[in-house]
């Protein structure tokens, strides 16, 4: 019997494979395509206080082995999530993780309290990178703001907190440390890498927003490196690794680098059942190499000459 379950704080996952926020909607469309109950957890699209229309179009463009998106966090807002999305998701036997996004500490605390009171999630993923905010409050690059935010959330809710870090920083370690010291139960990394794309023929940017976030296989090496760095620095904190995971072997690589769980994002666009394919591939790898417990893989990567 292979043992696949892992824990993030008090959150039990039957297996380490979850969905990446913003690539699975709110599960409604996906539920008619795959069996949600097989997933470790469903992570839904970023949810904000008010409904958001997101950025103007075009807001997606294909780039080498990946894609650049500037969706701008379009979502129906917290009222809509609680009244319409959550009741649907609660029909399934799978942990629901709501990804929260706000402009201020106040926003996040409000969202966490609403979700907690409504029982509308099993854990919260805190998206601390808000690159489109005009007045420049960007938690993801500031350890002090990150501490203040996670500290306030820790006091506002008993739900497990997973802080999602931005890779667009000189070093993620000070931000990770701040989140951990404030009491986060886990880290999620990485969010998308800031980039742009230009159409030489038209001499124009390809995105209306000019910049966007890069995802897909193109970012996997960067994501693996950051997961490994964070795991080296904070071996006791569970990490949800993501960035270009397409198959079971990719997932194994993230576990070896130090992730406790993995999330599948862009790959779902290519193959709607990619997350389940990752899970099947992980199990096949464990069978092949005689691994009984998935936790044996976590952080088990060795140096070439070791």
């Amino acid at each position: 019997m292979t043992h696949l379950s892992v824990k993030i704080g008090t959150l039990d996952l039957r297996n380490p494979v979850m969905t990446a926020s913003g690539t699975f909607g709110f599960g409604v469309e996906m539920a008619s395509i795959i069996d949600l109950n097989r997933l470790g957890a469903v992570v839904v699209k970023s949810t904000s206080r008010e409904m958001r229309l997101g950025n103007p179009t075009p807001r997606i463009t294909e780039t080498p082995s990946g894609l650049l998106n500037a969706i701008g966090l379009q979502n129906g807002g917290i009222d809509n999530y609680i009244s319409e999305k959550a009741p649907f998701l609660r029909h399934f036997n799978v942990p629901i993780i709501v990804n929260l996004v706000g402009y201020s500490v106040d926003d996040y605390v409000y969202l966490a309290q609403r979700i907690t009171a409504a029982g509308a999630a099993d854990a919260l993923e805190i998206n601390i990178s808000c690159p489109n905010v005009k007045h420049g409050c960007d938690f993801s690059v500031d350890p002090l703001l990150t501490f203040e935010l996670i500290d306030a959330l820790r006091k506002a809710t008993p739900l497990p907190l997973i802080t999602k870090l931005s890779p667009n920083v000189t070093s993620i370690l000070p931000i990770a440390r701040a989140a951990i010291e404030a009491g986060t139960d886990g880290l999620a990394l990485i969010n998308t890498l800031l980039g742009t794309a230009i159409d030489a023929r038209k001499r124009r940017f390809k995105l209306a927003n000019v910049t966007g976030g890069l995802s897909g296989p193109a970012i996997k090496p960067v994501a693996l490196r950051m997961v490994w760095q964070a795991h080296q620095a904070f071996p006791d904190i569970p990490i949800v690794g993501m960035g270009g995971i397409t198959n079971g072997i990719d997932a194994v690589e993230f576990l070896l680098a130090g992730a406790t769980a993995v999330a599948v994002g862009t790959a779902t666009f290519v193959n709607p059942a990619a997350s389940l394919g990752v899970l099947d591939g992980l199990e096949a790898y464990m069978d092949e190499y005689g691994i009984d417990d998935v936790r044996e893989l976590i952080g088990a990567v060795k140096a070439i000459d070791d």
């Binding site: 913003g22 690539t23 699975f24 909607g25 469309e29 996906m30 008619s32 395509i33 699209k45 229309l53 997101g54 103007p56 179009t57 075009p58 807001r59 997606i60 463009t61 294909e62 080498p64 082995s65 990946g66 894609l67 998106n69 969706i71 379009q74 897909g216 296989p217 862009t266 779902t268 666009f269 290519v270 193959n271 709607p272 059942a273």
Partner: protein, 262 residues
């Protein structure tokens, strides 16, 4: 919505005009479900650097033979990969996609007018075919526009179907010299319903002309659709209700009155 992920067998793949090909594959379940305006998301790139699926309208779907066809313009990694397929090869499709497809105007005696350009023509051919199967053959006019005669799509097929074909070419090499709107302006009347698919500028002009004349016009919009299934929010369209909706799920077909053009 029931979305299938299909590994279909290619049965035919041929050039119809320069850089435009029709690929036909065996996909009985898809053929059963497909309606005019539906599309499939195709994974066919041979280049490792292009990972995404690309959307293609369904051109033919025959529940009796189980055959489904797409007409595509060869221009990038997916369509080059599609062009390389031979009979017997496999092709990876997700579909049928689209939450809102062409809705035939139910008025008795209505005059259906298709306005198509480029690879916007194929879904309208499918629609004409379906309309033509009605017990009482309706009046269908098909306005098809192109730069020149050699770029006009589906001419023979439309002639065989017995629809009234009205070509327009910008260089005047065939049909009316000018644009599709030059032909449409002569036809618009109260008993007309317009269905349009083509380049953005064309749909915008056709939509505006219909709105001004109080004629119903359905447009099938194009936007990059990384997922096609409604989860990525990449393909949104601004509507006159002040909201942004997904072209893949709330479209791709919209009432022209609802669309806020960029």
């Amino acid at each position: 919505m029931s979305v299938l992920h299909i590994d279909a067998q290619v049965v035919d793949n041929r050039e119809v005009i320069k850089d435009h090909r029709v690929i036909t594959c065996l996909a009985p379940d898809l053929a059963e479900l497909a309606r005019p305006g539906h599309f499939v998301n195709v994974l066919a790139s041979e280049a490792a650097s292009s990972i995404l699926r690309k959307p293609f309208s369904i051109y033919h779907a025959d529940p009796h033979t189980g055959l489904v066809a797409m007409l595509y313009q060869v221009k990038g990694p997916t369509t080059v990969g599609m062009a390389h397929k031979r009979a017997g090869d496999r092709i990876d499709l997700v579909g049928p996609l689209g939450g809102n497809v062409f809705e035939p105007d139910p008025r008795p005696g209505v005059h259906h007018v298709m306005v198509g350009g480029g690879y916007g023509v194929p879904p309208l051919v499918f629609l004409s075919k379906v309309l033509g199967q009605a017990a009482q053959t309706p009046q269908i006019t098909f306005i098809v526009g192109a730069r020149s005669k050699d770029r006009l799509l589906c001419q023979d097929e439309l002639a065989e179907m017995g629809v009234n074909v009205r070509p327009s070419t910008e260089d005047g090499s065939h049909g009316v010299k000018g644009r599709v709107t030059d032909v449409l302006s002569e036809i618009l009347a109260d008993d007309v319903a317009v269905y349009c698919c083509g380049p953005d500028a064309m749909m915008r002009a056709v939509g505006a002309m219909c709105i001004a004349s109080g004629v119903d016009c359905q447009v099938s919009l194009e936007a990059p659709m990384p997922c096609g299934i409604g989860v990525c929010m990449g393909c949104v369209v601004d509507t006159t209700d002040g909201i942004r909706v997904r072209a893949c799920c709330e479209g791709p077909v919209f009432d022209a009155r609802k669309v806020v053009w960029k």
